[in-house]
């Protein structure tokens, strides 16, 4: 009798412990990101909302600097630490596809892929492999023309008529330098990242890299013409030979007429110009009669959650942040590019654009965005240093682009040959 009682008590206790344990067993997701400051507050706020809507799921956000995020995620995956959703810089996506166990989000959707339909199709192309989608847009930017209206006025240019083509950009830049003595304008280079070269070449109608990223093709007439323009900017004196940091500082200090850089800098530039100079923002200049093609900058989200509870929870989160209202709010409050089709059909977004008209050219440019070119694993460093050295030589102006660019492309292709 005593034995039976003891057995029942033990069973009851075990059941109670199990029940309590089950009730508190949250699924925890590890989300790697590089958001800081205001962007982090917005990001965390959205995650908190998701947690409230899904009581059994907790999201642990793990921060790494944007320059280190790829290495951090790679290290975590290599060490077997949990990674469920990772922010991956666009140009590294192919590397991650080839070298990590990224999950196809279409397959993970188990037939219900409607949540992906909201994204602009060209934004999804970066992570698309056939019918599979391995990355969705998250913190995208697009290159914009920022200009100082006061300097335009000083130089006798119309402050409400920013240059629409590269021809006009160079002409206005030279006028500014001649009339005011200030640098006329510059185009971001993005240092080792070679993003600036990619944008300039693609926009001129040339092909920067082939689809697999294993062959450079920008020694075409259009590519050479685009890079000759960059050389002319340097040799004419309108663009001081410097780097992105120097150009940004000069523009924000009201000491440079125009600067082409990412829309991710929009809020910072507006804040810097406040009370100092009248800022204008316009679309990326067209090259001749070619339609505008601008590569996106920034990062996408990749899925790594293992099958089971964590995969299901991660998919819930991805669906949550892909809702039009949430995605638009993320864009509005963080300053990143809108990601969802027809953003102005959202009344909150329309009101935002009305209050903050600087963002209108960014929205206009969404349809012109093409996926950033991605590099393979081998030879990338060699190739990128060749491109960087090519820019240095172009700006030095000792030889024309027609001589420098084909040599550089041959060197890039020799470096990338290890991937063929």
């Amino acid at each position: 009798m005593f034995r039976i009682k003891l057995g029942r008590i033990a069973l009851g206790l075990a059941t109670a412990v199990l029940a309590v344990g089950t009730a508190h067993a949250d699924t925890e997701l590890a989300f790697y990101h590089y958001q800081t400051g205001k962007s982090y507050e917005v990001f965390r706020g959205i995650l908190n909302e998701f947690e409230t809507a899904n009581p059994g799921i907790k999201v642990r956000d793990i921060f790494a600097q944007s320059e280190q995020i790829t290495g951090e995620v790679q290290a975590a995956l290599a060490a077997g630490r949990p990674v469920d959703i990772a922010t991956v810089i666009g140009k590294n996506i192919v590397f991650f596809l080839n070298n990590t166990g990224a999950v196809d989000m279409v397959a993970a959707s188990k037939g219900d892929t409607a949540w992906l339909d909201g994204y602009l199709p060209n934004f999804l192309d970066l992570g698309r492999v056939g019918d599979a989608v391995y990355a969705i847009p998250h913190a995208y930017g697009t290159p914009m023309l920022y200009y100082n209206k006061d300097i335009f006025t000083q130089a006798g240019l119309d402050p409400n008529s920013p240059p629409k083509t590269w021809e006009e950009f160079v002409a206005d830049g030279k006028t500014i330098t001649e009339k005011t003595g200030l640098p006329g304008g510059a185009h971001l280079a993005a240092a080792m990242g070679d993003y600036g070269t990619m944008v300039m070449v693609n926009n001129a109608g040339a092909t920067y890299l082939n689809a697999t990223g294993t062959k450079a093709e920008f020694d075409s007439p259009q590519g050479i013409a685009a890079l000759q323009t960059w050389q002319d900017m340097a040799t004419s004196g309108m663009m001081p030979i410097a780097g992105d940091t120097d150009w940004t500082a000069a523009f924000n200090a009201g000491q440079m007429g125009m600067y082409i850089t990412s829309s991710a800098a929009l809020r910072g530039t507006v804040a810097a110009a406040d009370g100092k100079f009248a800022l204008g923002v316009a679309n990326y200049p067209l090259f001749g009669d070619h339609p505008r093609h601008v590569s996106n900058s920034g990062a996408a989200l990749m899925l790594y959650a293992p099958e089971g509870e964590r995969r299901d929870a991660a998919m819930k989160l991805l669906r949550f942040i892909s809702q039009k209202e949430v995605a638009n709010r993320w864009s509005r409050e963080s300053g990143y590019m809108p990601l969802i089709q027809d953003p102005l059909s959202d009344p909150a977004m329309a009101a935002y654009v009305k209050d903050f008209p600087y963002v209108q050219p960014v929205i206009d440019q969404m349809a012109d965005t093409i996926p950033t070119n991605v590099w393979p694993a081998k030879g990338t460093l060699e190739a990128q240093t060749v491109i960087r050295a090519m820019l240095d030589e172009l700006w030095a102006g000792q030889r024309p682009a027609a001589e420098i660019v084909p040599e550089a492309v041959a060197k890039v292709n020799a470096a990338l040959a290890a991937n063929n």
């Binding site: 280190q68 790829t70 290495g71 790679q74 290290a75 995956l77 290599a78 077997g80 590294n92 590397f95 070298n99 990590t100 166990g101 640098p183 240092a191 080792m192 001081p240 030979i241 410097a242 780097g243 940091t245 120097d246 150009w247 500082a249 000069a250 200090a253 000491q255 440079m256 590099w375 694993a377 081998k378 030879g379 990338t380 460093l381 060699e382 990128q384 240093t385 060749v386 960087r388 050295a389 240095d392 030589e393 700006w395 060197k411 470096a415 290890a418």
Partner: protein, 317 residues
């Protein structure tokens, strides 16, 4: 007979005791030093030699650390790929320039400075503090400060040069001058620390020897070359070896902040190249091969220094 029997009986006992004592001594003397060394050996093994072996392994395989993929043995192809590139060639030449420039600027220049401060005695503390101050400032802060000074559009250097009618060239944009800016910044930052090391070396010299030489009519030059220089050679040896080894690390932050190895690869070095392979383009095999080549290069440099210079070092006063 009895004595003999006793002696025979005692002999093995005596031999056995001796052996036991010897064994006991051997055992105690053989493992006790290892016990003292164990913490260092374990730390060195875990954090230095094991990673080195792992790096050597990674340099011979094609694998990007993905647990789901197999590591394919590729022999020396990662070495060939890295060493055959123009980046490696530039990085190697620049490494030699950084080292060659560091000897006069970081190893020799601090000696007269330290001598001057030493001659001031207690009054030299103020100058010592001023000279040591740059050592305390983070390389990141130094890099950012010099970027502002040398900014080709708004920089202080440009503004002040313009005030006296000089056109300030963009030093960081020219392949000929950028490396010297990096060398200058790292030398300025390290100078105070090396001066301090030499001051410690000078402090160990007995001033009575100097007085004795003066009484014998020796001049400053004779005192320096016959007495101070030989007695300073152990410090010089330490400063030389540590400068050669660490100079590439010292220029890493200014390179990353100010030039990213450019223009035209003119400021990169082997250390920065390895970082780029490993953490910018995530080419683990290339990064590991570069690391092993860098390791071999530094070993060779230290070996040469020890073979050539160590014989000339005066360790006894």
């Amino acid at each position: 007979m009895v004595d003999t029997a006793l002696a025979d009986a005692k002999a093995p006992v005596a031999t056995g005791t001796k052996l036991q004592n010897l064994n006991a001594r051997m055992t105690s003397t053989s493992w006790v030093p290892w016990l003292y060394l164990a913490p260092t050996l374990i730390l060195l093994g875990v954090f230095t030699y094991w990673p080195l072996i792992q790096t050597a392994y990674l340099s011979l395989v094609e694998w990007n650390l993905n647990p789901g993929q197999t590591a394919d043995f590729v022999g020396l192809s990662n070495y060939g790929r890295v060493a055959g590139g123009t980046l490696f060639q530039s990085a190697f030449v620049n490494t030699l320039i950084y080292i060659a420039a560091s000897i006069p600027l970081k190893v020799l220049l601090p000696i007269p400075v330290a001598m001057f401060l030493w001659s001031l005695g207690g009054k030299g503390h103020f100058y010592r503090a001023i000279l040591f101050l740059p050592t305390l400032i983070s390389f990141v802060v130094v890099g950012v400060a010099f970027m502002w000074i040398l900014n080709p559009i708004l920089g202080y250097a440009k503004q002040y040069a313009a005030m006296i009618g000089i056109h300030m060239p963009n030093l960081l944009a020219s392949p000929g001058s950028a490396i010297w800016v990096i060398i200058g910044i790292s030398s300025w930052k390290v100078l105070g620390f090396n001066v301090l090391l030499y001051l410690a070396g000078l402090a160990s010299i007995n001033r009575d020897y100097i007085e004795a030489m003066r009484m014998d009519g020796a001049g400053d030059g004779t005192i320096f070359f016959r007495l101070i220089w030989p007695l300073l050679t152990p410090t010089l040896m330490f400063v030389l070896i540590s400068t050669v080894i660490f100079t590439m690390q010292q220029v890493f932050t200014p390179i990353d902040l100010m030039t990213q190895g450019g223009p035209s690869n003119s400021t990169t070095n082997l250390f920065y190249m390895v970082y780029q392979y490993s953490f910018v383009t995530f080419d683990v095999g290339g990064g590991a091969a570069g690391t092993m080549m860098l390791f071999a290069f530094l070993m060779l440099m230290v070996f040469i220094q020890l073979r050539v210079l160590d014989k000339r070092v005066q360790y006894k006063q």
